[in-house]
């Protein structure tokens, strides 16, 4: 609301994801590949293996073309992109960690210089000096990871920084070391996996076999330690955040599953390279790379997902509102905007008055400043699809927007704005996909009624308040569900028909007995 919102039709979140994913694929190779180059050079020179050295020269060219060109530009690219889509978060991170970024820049500059001199120095430098450049490259590349890792993990686990605002508290946060170890392992694994590509086009079968075996020495252990390091990482993530990836949030859970499966497949494929290493084809090496990168992409996606609704945990929401009012926030916290209203608080909107005739238009502006950092109307994380699935009419949308912060394990921040503005947002959302009240109340089987009205906050689980506490007697339970807000003040004021309530209660009872949940007593709600 402080900054204008870039209206990306296909989804601002998708654009960030694309740039970031492409960058991490290359940046981890840039770190691990640096060590691979210099260690392999040392090995080849000690064994006087000119064939291996010849391949390594070609590989170093490939390395520079991928990492220095694409890696460097895409790294700047993430910075450009987050500045365009999350300027408040970017500004916060730059203010909080300015000297961290500046230190990283020093390492980055040395890293790039060393990479170029290493590449150009193959024929010009004596072996010792050449390897000195290789080590300098790797050390600086690794140090840049050491720095950037502090800032990335801070976004997920800001810890006590939120209270004391001390640089090193934020930097060496709860997930710093597991993340550094995890990313180091990824970097080493990718060093071996990328090397398979240049190895696969090598014509000398004996040389190819040597390189493939050597690459597997990097890829296999790197992949093998990831589960243990991942477990350590997960243990350091607050339990309530990690719950998203364990079933509370559909997308995070799905990608967590992909990450595990793809990591396993990557491991198997990496081992398969050893079966006939001298005959490995380019297509197979690309397959290994694609699977490994997909596993890594899934991991990054889970990390980003469990961080939601925050972009900086316990500090700034993904929609650039501060989670609590802080001095100098300009009134851009959820509570302040709710009190003053979006139309008063937001700088970059045109409509300052809400009337009966401009509801949807105002709602569109509210959508842009509050929702568009993650959602679109009908593309990436499109709400049209969501509304069709749930069959919510305008009244239901309005009621549900009042409880956004409870949906899917709290993946979204609370709606910030007045009740009238919430109504305007509902009017806009309903204009994307008009659903009549009649259609909205057409669902007649309990499962569908649950999916459409309850599943965004409640889960079919013994510990869920609905399954735990709802009394089993259908008539009494149906009666209790008549007025949800009196049941729990933060529930939306949904109005189901008598028949729908009965169907829902019966379905809940069926689930409880089928899954062996302890049934609530008459004393429950």
């Amino acid at each position: 609301m402080n900054y204008p919102v870039w209206d990306v039709s296909f989804g601002a979140g998708l654009l960030i994801a694309l740039v970031a994913i492409l960058h991490v694929f290359v940046s981890h190779f840039a770190v691990g590949g640096g060590l691979f180059l210099v260690v392999t050079e040392r090995k080849a020179r000690r064994a006087n293996d000119t064939a291996l050295l010849g391949w390594l020269k070609k590989h170093s060219k490939f390395f520079v073309l991928v990492t220095v060109v694409f890696g460097a530009i895409s790294g700047v690219g993430i910075w450009f992109t987050i500045g365009l889509i999350s300027p408040a978060a970017t500004s916060d991170l730059i203010h909080i960690f300015l000297w961290g970024w500046a230190i990283e820049w020093v390492f980055f500059f040395l890293e790039i210089t060393a990479a170029l001199l290493y590449l150009y120095g193959w024929e010009k430098l004596d072996p010792k000096t050449h390897q000195w450049f290789g080590w300098l490259y790797f050390i600086n590349a690794y140090l840049s990871l050491v720095v950037i890792n502090g800032i990335i993990t801070f976004m997920l686990t800001s810890g006590s920084w939120v209270r004391n605002h001390e640089f090193w508290r934020g930097f060496f946060n709860a997930t710093y070391f597991p993340s550094l170890a995890f990313r180091t392992a990824i970097a080493l694994a990718l060093a071996g996996i990328y090397a398979l590509i240049t190895a696969s086009v090598e014509k000398d079968a004996a040389l190819k076999a040597r390189i493939v075996r050597w690459s597997a020495c990097w890829a296999v252990p790197g992949l093998a330690v990831l589960p243990a390091l991942g477990y350590w990482y997960i243990r350091r993530i607050p339990h309530d955040l990690w719950a998203s990836a364990r079933g509370s949030m559909p997308t995070a859970t799905t990608y967590a599953g992909y990450a595990v499966i793809l990591l396993g497949v990557a491991m198997v494929l990496a081992l398969l390279t050893l079966v006939k290493p001298g005959r490995m084809h380019l297509s197979f090496s690309l397959l290994v790379l694609v699977v490994a990168l997909s596993a890594m992409g899934s991991f990054e996606f889970v990390r980003e997902s469990v961080r939601k609704p925050f972009v900086i945990s316990n500090y700034l929401y993904a929609n650039s509102l501060y989670s609590t009012a802080i001095p100098g926030d300009g009134g851009f916290s959820v509570d302040e905007v709710s009190a003053a209203g979006v139309l008063t608080s937001a700088k970059w909107i045109r409509n300052r008055d809400l009337t009966a005739s401009n509801q949807a238009e105002v709602g569109h502006e509210i959508f842009r400043v509050e929702c568009a950092s993650c959602h679109t109307a009908n593309a990436y994380r499109g709400l049209k699809h969501y509304l069709v699935l749930r069959q919510w009419d305008q009244a239901k949308v309005e009621a549900m927007v009042g409880g956004l912060e409870f949906m899917h394990n709290g993946v979204m921040p609370a709606f910030a704005g007045t009740d009238a503005e919430r109504g305007a947002l509902a009017a806009y959302l309903s204009s994307i996909q008009p659903i009549s009240a009649q259609a909205a109340s057409a669902a007649s089987d309990g499962g569908t009624i649950f999916a459409q009205n309850c599943s965004m906050c409640h889960q079919v689980a013994a510990s869920d308040p609905l399954f735990k506490n709802l009394i089993s007697d259908p008539a009494s339970a149906s009666n209790a569900l008549q007025d949800l807000t009196s049941l729990f003040p933060l529930m939306p004021d949904l109005k189901l028909t008598d028949r729908q309530r009965l169907e829902l209660v019966e379905w809940i009872n069926t689930q409880r007995s089928a899954k062996g949940f302890n049934q609530a007593t008459q004393g429950g709600k």
């Binding site: 730059i94 961290g100 300098l136």
Partner: protein, 383 residues
């Protein structure tokens, strides 16, 4: 709607160092960035000019490839040296810079794509060193044009960030980010001012190459000196047209700042003009006498003074543009003493290590026995 209401509020986190230090780092690192950019862009333009205008085809081709081989190093130097000023710009002027970037988000984002393509193009040319095909020249031309376009997008963004009065109309007409700042009267003169300066400094790159080759291949070195020196002379003379054009398109009160109203700004402009004139005189004399030392040491010394004064003038101009909206005295400051000294130590250590690196490589007349060849590509093979 009052424009000042649209200016985003300051970041709630205080500046992590005194304002003056951040400003100093901004100006110093920007100057380094602009020098690298000038070598890269000016070098690329002159390489193409040499190829297409040289009387002796072989000479033009040799200059073309000798410069082309340096571009894959000069472009990342430009990018990496650009990161630091962009960082300090964002911490001081984020309110203006983020906003203008968002208003012209797509052109700004596409800078990344343009740079990537240009970069691979430069590598393509350098890897085909000595192969005199039309394709190589075309790739070089495309890459150079893309880099010029990147510069033009930067000029758009910087001018837009300084003119908040234009923001609302542009943003609300196209919130999708398809905007530029083409109606800004200073845009083209400003862009040309930078472009022409880049060609002049690109001329100095050729002069440095002449210096490196002076003993090894004197005839070729003299050609480089002559070509680079003339490029410097012509473009610096052109600057005496473009510069005043830029000055006179500025709003009157800002223009007058450099013409008496602000003593510092006026002095810097006079220093800049005097330095430019002196550089012209020294270079033309050096070319007449074949004096490589004057061309490669005195002229760059004078140009360094000009660039430094221009960098400070540019900053004064930005603050004058933003005077109604930008109040640095309102910045909360909380110096991060627990980390600032570490940065300063690493920065100094980093510069020292960098110098050791290029010395060990053989640049700076270091230990490599083939120092003059040092910046060439490993598979160049033209000599």
């Amino acid at each position: 709607m009052l424009q000042s209401n649209l200016i985003p509020v300051l970041d709630p986190n205080p500046l992590p160092a005194p304002y003056w230090l951040l400003k100093l780092l901004l100006i110093v690192t920007f100057t380094l960035h602009i020098v690298a950019m000038n070598f890269m862009l000016g070098g690329a333009v002159l390489a193409l000019t040499a190829k297409w205008s040289a009387k002796h085809r072989e000479h033009g081709k040799r200059v073309f490839f000798d410069v082309a081989k340096k571009l894959p190093s000069l472009l990342p130097a430009t990018i990496t040296l650009g990161i630091a000023p962009l960082l300090f710009l964002q911490v001081l002027y984020g309110q203006f810079f983020y906003t203008s970037s968002i208003i012209m988000a797509w052109p700004w984002f596409l800078v990344l794509v343009l740079l990537t393509v240009a970069y691979y193009g430069f590598y393509f040319v350098s890897f085909r060193s000595g192969r005199d095909s039309r394709k190589v020249a075309c790739v070089m031309l495309v890459s150079t044009l893309l880099v010029v376009l990147v510069g033009f997008v930067f000029s758009n963004n910087i001018t837009l960030s300084q003119t908040p009065a234009r923001w609302a109309a542009k943003y609300f007409a196209h919130p999708s980010g398809w905007n530029l700042n083409l109606t800004e009267p200073t845009l083209i003169p400003r862009f040309l001012h930078f472009f022409v300066a880049a060609v002049a400094v690109g001329g100095l790159l050729l002069v440095f190459m002449a210096l490196a080759a002076w003993k090894r291949d004197n005839a070729y070195a003299r050609q480089l000196l002559n070509f680079g020196g003339k490029a410097f002379l012509f473009s610096t003379m052109a600057q005496f047209v473009v510069g005043p054009l830029f000055l006179f398109t500025l709003p009157r009160d800002l223009r007058m700042m450099f013409m008496g109203d602000n003593p510092l700004a006026t002095t810097l402009l006079l220093v800049g003009i005097a330095g430019g004139v002196a550089a012209l005189v020294v270079m033309s004399s050096a070319l007449r006498n074949g004096n490589i030392r004057a061309a490669a040491f005195t002229v760059p010394g004078l140009v360094a003074v000009v660039i430094a004064s221009m960098a400070v003038m540019r900053d004064l101009l930005r603050d004058a543009y933003l005077k109604p909206y930008f109040h640095p005295e309102q910045f909360p400051v909380k110096t991060q003493w627990q980390v600032l000294p570490l940065f300063l130590a690493l920065f100094v250590g980093g510069v020292a290590l960098w110098l050791v690196m290029i010395w060990r490589y053989g640049l700076l007349g270091g230990r490599s026995t083939i120092a003059a060849e040092a910046s060439n590509m490993e598979d160049g093979g033209t000599r």
